[in-house]
């Protein structure tokens, strides 16, 4: 698939002036007004210094490549206006770090005028102005063009053209699904968090570390263990630093581990009371979320897609999605709602908030679903099936790929393989293409039997 290019036209550059912070928007969707430049909020930020540090952190992640640092990509963050809060999201150029700043109701004093998701312009003068921002007085902020900007539109539009690599899109969407499997693992006070982050080894940013709760803080350990969290590439937490001094707590989230676990992703969240800044790290600095294959693990049947379509019409920009209420509305079991939400997550239709342990409605202003359909592993699997490389048998399948022969076998509902890729990740990155091909061939066989 060729890489798409995103063209955005902002009515004016975002700026921090005497009148306050004006964030300009472009693209995306809004609930009430169908416009190219949606307007979500006007009012005050109650903690401007912390909010601007958080906003800068999100913008910083968007421009950084943590793995093989080349010149920064410059994709704008995405802002979502929920019913009671604003969420700023970004995704690093290397597809390995996802950042989100949630401005909670306590952090906002004003009116949310519309709901939806859009891109927000962050430019160099704005960054510099935010860096210089001091003082604790509430700061006026508008997300979206104000009437003045619209009325005095004199053609000074800011056009941005940025490439949207398919893997970037896929990773941005898939990180939500991966985070939905996280549980809280540790909570540190600001002082302990500062001390812990300072103790992290500075060199060797590509290392994968593990941390276990010990006393009031976390202790680094050399091996995974139950209750531990993985800290892959500790240097990637750098974006938290400027916000650290405003934070009251650091919370860490991750999946359940055993002593045999491989590297996994984790979420590190600073909470100031009014804001939450979280960074989600991919399992290894060299691994982008795009290749994690979270959606491939449950190869979507048509019924799930139908469910997802129904559920998507019921979402209404709630700050958190209530699965039970949705199940009642849609008249379907909660498990099916959850499967549908997973599907919507990979399509960029919902995000996941680990601190609320719930999905939230957010429509990425990109065509993420298209990217998922062109997942290279899925494409490879289809090719294998089409060339008749898969021969099914009762315990699994034998897949012939060129000279090589691979055995795929069914284990506890999953499929294991003898290929090198599976050997490396053992299910940690979803099924391999041979397992996918077997799955596809099985579905095909069932349909033929009908």
């Amino acid at each position: 698939m060729t890489n798409a290019v995103q063209s955005l036209s902002y009515l004016a550059p975002s700026a921090l002036r005497d009148g306050g912070l004006q964030l300009q928007t472009a693209g995306g969707v809004a609930q009430r007004a169908a416009t190219a430049n949606p307007r979500f909020f006007t009012g005050f930020l109650t903690t401007p210094a912390a909010a601007s540090a958080g906003l800068l952190a999100v913008a910083e992640v968007a421009r950084t490549r943590y793995f093989q640092p080349l010149s920064p990509a410059s994709l704008d963050p995405v802002v979502t206006g929920s019913r009671d809060r604003l969420r700023f999201e970004s995704f690093s150029g290397c597809c390995g770090v996802y950042a989100r700043l949630d401005v909670l109701p306590a952090g906002l004093d004003g009116e949310i005028v519309d709901h939806g998701t859009t891109n927000v312009d962050v430019n160099t003068p704005l960054r510099q102005a935010l860096q210089r921002l001091v003082g604790a007085d509430p700061l006026h902020v508008s997300v979206g063009p104000d009437d003045l900007t619209v009325s005095t539109m004199d053609g000074a539009v800011v056009e941005k053209k940025v490439p949207l690599p398919a893997r970037w899109l896929r990773g941005f969407a898939e990180v939500q699904v991966i985070a939905s499997g996280f549980d809280p693992r540790a909570e540190l006070s600001a002082a302990d968090a500062t001390a812990f982050l300072r103790r992290l080894p500075a060199a060797n940013d590509r290392a994968v570390l593990w941390a276990v709760p010990a006393g009031r803080s976390l202790r680094l350990t050399s091996r995974p263990a139950p209750g531990a969290v993985c800290l892959p590439g500790p240097g990637r937490l750098a974006a938290l630093k400027p916000v650290l001094r405003f934070a009251k707590r650091l919370r860490v989230y991750g999946p359940a581990l055993t002593t045999a676990s491989g590297p996994v992703s984790s979420t590190w969240e600073l909470d100031t009371g009014e804001l939450r800044l979280s960074l989600t790290l991919s399992p290894q600095p060299s691994r982008g979320f795009s290749g994690e294959g979270a959606v491939l693990a449950a190869l979507a049947g048509d019924d799930v897609v139908d469910d997802a379509e129904l559920i998507s019409t019921l979402l209404a920009w709630d700050p958190t999605v209530d699965v039970d209420a949705l199940a009642e509305q849609a008249v379907m079991p909660a498990a099916r709602v959850r499967a549908a939400l997973t599907q919507l997550g990979t399509a960029g239709q919902v995000g996941f908030d680990v601190s609320e342990a719930a999905y939230f409605h957010r429509v990425l202003p990109y065509d993420a679903e298209r990217a998922e359909r062109h997942n290279p592993r899925l494409v490879g699997a289809r090719t294998l099936v089409e060339t008749g490389a898969v021969s099914l048998d009762p315990t699994g399948a034998t897949v012939r790929s060129g000279e090589e022969v691979y055995r795929v076998r069914a284990v506890d509902g999953g499929l294991h393989c003898t290929c090198a890729w599976w050997a490396k990740y053992r299910g940690g990155r979803g099924p391999c293409k041979h397992a996918l091909a077997t799955e596809l061939a099985r579905v095909g066989a069932v349909e033929v039997a009908r």
Binding site: S71, A195, G215, R219, T221, S222, G262, T395, V405, A423
Partner: protein, 906 residues
């Protein structure tokens, strides 16, 4: 072409142009194109654009230039010209611009500017100078607006450095036609702060610094650029959290600009932000600047105090100290505001750095609001150590041939360890006896893919390669593939001790290899339905009841277990076996059963005596380079248990080498050694010691301290050898290995019979002889103190008892032999250090050169105070009182006094 190689007269046709291009005759191409009309050019252009790139072709300067000439001369649009130019060399080849511009002038190309813009957009990310220069020449020739994209700017910054041999940066900047336009966007790029080395003839040295920025500062001095905007740009860059090296460059730029009092006064808020938020060296710079502003009365006290609250919470000790001193002076100057200032200083009373805490406390005491004295009212924190934890059970055996194939495929992907190897061996032997056809069908495709070096790397030593080769041979045999038998037969003839003469620490490896060789040889000749030595626990132990059951099964089914497999099984039994298992074993009738009973009755391999001895490096001779080896090293020595115990392989008999010899190569299979003798932690520690020591005492860290957690999981006492291994590990060069050593310390720290003083004494011995870096271990002990202050205190006290007396005697602690019988030592009482003192006092002091204090000793004292306070420990440490009684205020003495106070308080 005619016979004489000349072109026939007449207009240039495509084949002729192609010849010119291939030969790189760019000047001739310019000539040939000059007189063509647009129609003729269009014909050639069409062919040129359609020409595909030849795969793997490198275009030299002439050829690439010729194609660019043709592109400008024939292409109909700028886009098509770009296609041709990028297809034939640009950006990687050098292109000459003069002929290209000549051809463009001849044709009067209207889109030359567009061509330049398009090329500027396509400059590579890591910009190539020649590509930028060609593009820049086009920009200048076309007279179009200068591109300001980041890659063009990066190229310009690079070009500034190219001609420095002949001229100075200042002149380059003065003459560059781009300076005015590209300087502003260049402040956004890291390249502007690039460190440039310039040969300084008068001093005959290379001068390095942010050359471009320093030259810009000089231009500002000449009045070419306004000071205000340059200073603002500089501060913006410093606020921007750029990489450290870039920030350092901008700090130099800032110093070169030398802002004046009024300039600083107008920007105090920005400097305050730098002080609170920027990286250490930038904050230090801001602190200095603000102090001068404060002296001039240009700083508001409220803003300063507000910022100070944040600064005093920062981790940089120097910055915090300077800030405290500043606040102290401020309080003297403004006595009326002292209370307000004291309120801010109070923030530092729980700073992680003890000196900052002291200073803050002293300030508060002077200003009447003394906090509770240090640590006086603190609760005693209990140790949170896991104690003796039973090792996890082995995962279920591999069921099917397909599962075995998957496990074999996964072998090379994870760190080498015992669990998969043993599971694979067990399944291989079982399936080969019960279902050889399915085994072959499943395993053969996988074995054809994996190479023969399982668990080794190209730098692995011979012994590790041999183990891998044997393992591969066994798997190949099970797959029905060709395999080598000779090596296995050879190994099987010898005993484990023969595997590698001269290094006794390879004995455990020998056991592994003989067992692997046995599998290779016996798999077909004497197939058995099961191995008996497969561990039941992940540390390698076998539950005695399980072994009895395995042997009973063999009796029932009428087969005899393989001999070396049985030996290994016996070595894997725990030392203390309950009577039940022995009674069950006595019901066995076979030869194997008899051996098991004999083993159990003898108490296994018994309780050998393990010591640690210091061995020196061989003196250099005949030009051999030995300096890379440590001056000396501690090795384990083991003597078999006297009067009891069976040890057919003599694994508990270890003699250290006469001189230090470093075992080179990777240690993939060493991760399996602990599982060979899981009930004898001390013997295994002695065998692993050289590998773990290499991680700490060799410059390039060839060892592997990550083996330590495996050692911690074993059973048996943790004595001198284990303590020495952990001590080396805590001082490992690599951070992740030190973390592994800390894991091991926490695992063994709570065991009955673990003596923290012993570990401390070993640490002192290593650090006192400068064999390891003490400060590395201190940072790990600090971490340990957070979890287990009492245990850490005992370790620290043991180390201090070994190091402090030398501070008075002025001598190096001499070579020492610490004895620890493998029978458990009695634990020292939590609040006493008698054991630590007796260890130190019992050491032979043979003297040595006048010593210097090991780096990190003051930190060790600080840590000891904290651990003693947290655990409520009291007592004495040899040499401490004398040190504390010394005059002076060096850190060593200050910290000694603090510890002395803590230990004698209340």
């Amino acid at each position: 072409m005619n016979l004489f190689g000349r072109r026939p007269a007449g207009p240039l046709d495509w084949p002729a142009l192609q010849d010119l291009l291939k030969d790189g005759k760019f000047a001739a191409t310019v000539e040939a194109l000059r007189d063509l009309d647009e129609e003729q050019r269009a014909v050639l252009g069409k062919e040129l654009v359609a020409l595909r790139r030849q795969a793997d072709t490198w275009f030299n300067e002439k050829v690439a230039t010729a194609y660019a000439v043709a592109a400008v001369g024939c292409a109909s649009t700028a886009a098509k010209a770009v296609t041709v130019i990028t297809r034939h060399g640009w950006p990687w080849s050098v292109l000459q611009s003069a002929p290209v511009l000549r051809a463009a002038a001849d044709r009067d190309v209207p889109w030359l500017g567009e061509l330049a813009d398009r090329l500027a957009e396509r400059l590579p990310r890591d910009v190539v100078f020649h590509a930028w220069r060609f593009t820049a020449d086009l920009v200048l020739a076309a007279g179009v607006p200068v591109p300001t994209g980041e890659r063009f700017v990066d190229g310009w910054l690079l070009s500034l450095q190219v001609s420095l041999r002949e001229t100075t940066m200042l002149d380059v900047l003065r003459t560059s036609p781009f300076t005015d336009l590209l300087l502003p966007p260049a402040f956004e790029r890291d390249g502007i702060a690039a460190s440039i080395s310039v040969w300084d003839a008068p001093t005959r040295t290379y001068d390095s610094g942010p050359g471009i920025l320093l030259a810009v500062a000089a231009l500002v001095g000449e009045g070419r650029y306004p000071r205000d905007s340059m200073l603002d740009r500089c501060l913006d860059a410093l606020l921007g959290g750029r990489p450290n090296a870039v920030s350092h460059g901008f700090v130099r730029f800032h110093d070169a600009l030398a802002p004046t009092g009024p300039e600083i006064a107008a920007r105090t808020m920005i400097y305050l932000k730098l002080l609170t938020d920027a990286m250490g060296s930038v904050a230090t710079m801001a602190q200095k600047v603000l102090k001068t502003a404060d002296a001039d009365g240009a700083l508001e006290l409220e803003s300063l105090l507000d910022a100070s609250r944040t600064v005093l919470g920062r981790s940089e000790k120097g910055l915090v100290k300077a800030q405290l001193i500043w606040l102290e002076k401020l309080a003297k100057r403004l006595p009326a505001r002292a209370a307000e200032i004291a309120e801010v200083v109070a923030v530092a009373t729980d700073h992680p750095d003890v000196q900052a805490r002291d200073r803050a406390a002293a300030f508060l005491a002077r200003h009447g609001s003394a906090p509770d004295p240090l640590g006086a009212a603190r609760d005693v924190e209990p140790d949170l150590l896991p104690g003796q934890v039973a090792a996890a059970d082995m995962p279920d055996p591999i069921g099917s041939p397909d599962e075995l194939a998957e496990e074999v495929a996964a072998l090379g992907q994870a760190a080498w360890n015992m669990v998969p190897v043993e599971r694979i061996l067990a399944a291989l032997v079982r399936l080969h006896a019960t279902d050889p056809h399915s085994l072959r069908a499943a395993l053969a495709p996988v074995m054809q893919r994996v190479d023969g070096q399982l668990g080794t790397d190209w730098w692995s030593s011979e012994a590790h390669r041999s183990a891998a080769a044997l393992f591969t041979a066994a798997l190949n045999k099970g797959s029905g593939l060709p395999f080598t038998l000779a090596e296995a037969t050879r190994v099987l003839r010898g005993t484990p001790a023969d595997i590698r003469v001269g290094n006794p620490y390879m004995k455990l490896h020998g056991v592994l290899m003989t067992r692997l060789a046995e599998v290779v040889v016996r798999l077909s000749t004497e197939p058995v339905p099961a191995l008996v030595a497969t561990p039941t626990q992940v540390n390698g132990l076998i539950d005695p009841a399980a072994l009895v059951e395995r042997l009973a099964r063999a009796e029932r089914e009428g087969w005899e277990p393989w001999r070396r497999d049985l030996r290994q099984a016996l070595y894997r039994l725990p030392l203390d076996v309950d009577g039940d298992a022995l009674r069950q074993a006595r019901t066995l009738r076979s030869e194997s059963g008899r051996m098991l009973v004999e083993w159990l009755e003898a108490g296994g391999a018994g309780r050998p005596e393990v010591r640690v001895v210091r061995v020196h490096r061989q003196s250099a001779e005949r030009g051999r380079h030995l300096e890379w080896l440590p001056e000396s090293r501690f090795y384990g020595a083991s003597a078999p248990a006297v009067g009891s115990g069976l040890d057919p392989y003599h694994l508990t008999d270890l003699t250290p080498p006469p001189v230090v010899n470093a075992d080179l190569g990777s240690h993939g299979w060493a991760a399996l050694w602990p599982s060979v003798l899981p009930a004898q932690r001390e013997v295994v520690a002695a065998c692993l010691l050289p590998l773990i020591a290499s991680a700490a005492d060799l410059d390039n860290a060839r060892g592997d301290a990550r083996l330590l957690p495996l050692l911690a999981e074993l059973t048996g006492p943790a004595g001198a050898a284990t303590c020495t291994a952990v001590a080396y590990g805590l001082a490992a060069a690599q951070a992740d290995e030190r973390i592994a050593a800390l894991d091991a310390l926490i695992a063994i720290g709570g065991l009955d019979g673990f003596d923290g003083g012993e570990l401390g004494a070993q640490l002192a011995r290593l650090a006192g002889a400068k064999l390891v870096v003490l400060s590395r271990t201190v940072s790990q002990l600090e971490e340990a103190a957070r979890i287990a202050p009492a245990m850490t205190w005992r370790v620290a006290a043991g180390a201090l008892a070994g190091l402090l007396p030398a501070e008075h005697a002025g001598r190096v602690p001499g070579p020492a032999t610490a004895r620890s019988t493998a029978t458990a030592r009695s634990t020292t009482a939590a609040r006493s250090t008698t054991a630590a003192r007796s260890t130190a006092a019992g050491r032979a002091d043979t003297g040595g050169p006048v010593r210097t204090t090991p780096r990190g000793l003051p930190d060790l004292l600080t840590l000891a105070s904290a651990a003693a306070a947290a655990s409520g420990s009291r007592g004495e440490v040899a040499g401490l009182a004398e040190l504390a009684a010394r005059t002076g205020s060096t850190r060593l003495v200050v910290e000694a006094r603090r510890l002395h106070r803590t230990l004698t308080a209340g």
